[in-house]
Amino acid sequence: MVPLHYYLFLSAILFAIGAAGVVIRRNLIVVLMSIELMLNAVNLTFIAFARALGSMEGQVIVFFVMTVAAAEAVIGLAIIISVFRHRQTLDPQEMLLLRW
């Protein structure tokens, strides 16, 4: 039987990979994918604790996280596509409209 902290290690590694992707990558779509990775890591932690504590609440919270993740992906991709249509680039370092 796999102990609880193995799952926590796994989700910590997954979260760190996602965070690294957000910081390192210079393409908005990959940044969005990395955010999805981080949300998955958090969901994994919720489920692992829900099992370890023998309660259902953790599993219920995961559904709310998934809802927000879906909404975020939809809006994010819509914004990305309309940004691409206007500026022909997906590099966040070239989006300087608000910078002075």
Partner: protein, 166 residues
Amino acid sequence: MEISALVFYLLAAITIGSAAIVAFSRNIVYSAFSLLGTFAGVAGIYVFLGADFVAGVQILIYVGGILVLILFAVMLTHRIADVQITNRSAGMIPAVVIIAVFLGLLIQSIRDTPWAKAKEIVYLPTTAAIGDFFLQHYLLPFELASLVLLAALIGAVVLSRKETKE
């Protein structure tokens, strides 16, 4: 080694391997497709943890919804103009240092905390209990979630249609 530990390690390797491809691959199409491996691996771990309904929903929403949407975005931004959509990285060294420190901190704190011994796992259907929670304790957040989805739907339509001048 027990068979369950073996399965866990296999799923963890799939998940982390494809997550690494997502975050570090130079080709964005590879990133998008290896997201499938991550989502499927996480779903397998949910099954392993006895959360059957969550695993099904994970496959439905992430693989069936979000992944398809991301692939659409990749293909759309690829086609609109023939600019090379590179996926180059910037600021590698400071980012890696910060992430490594962060990961070390997380692992250290997980290892040092004395976790209570996990209960023996019982594989029971969880769907009815989740439904009870949604319609009793979490009724207001449940309704709010549907409102969020409606707002996202309308927002996506408004954002992505062509701008027409009056």
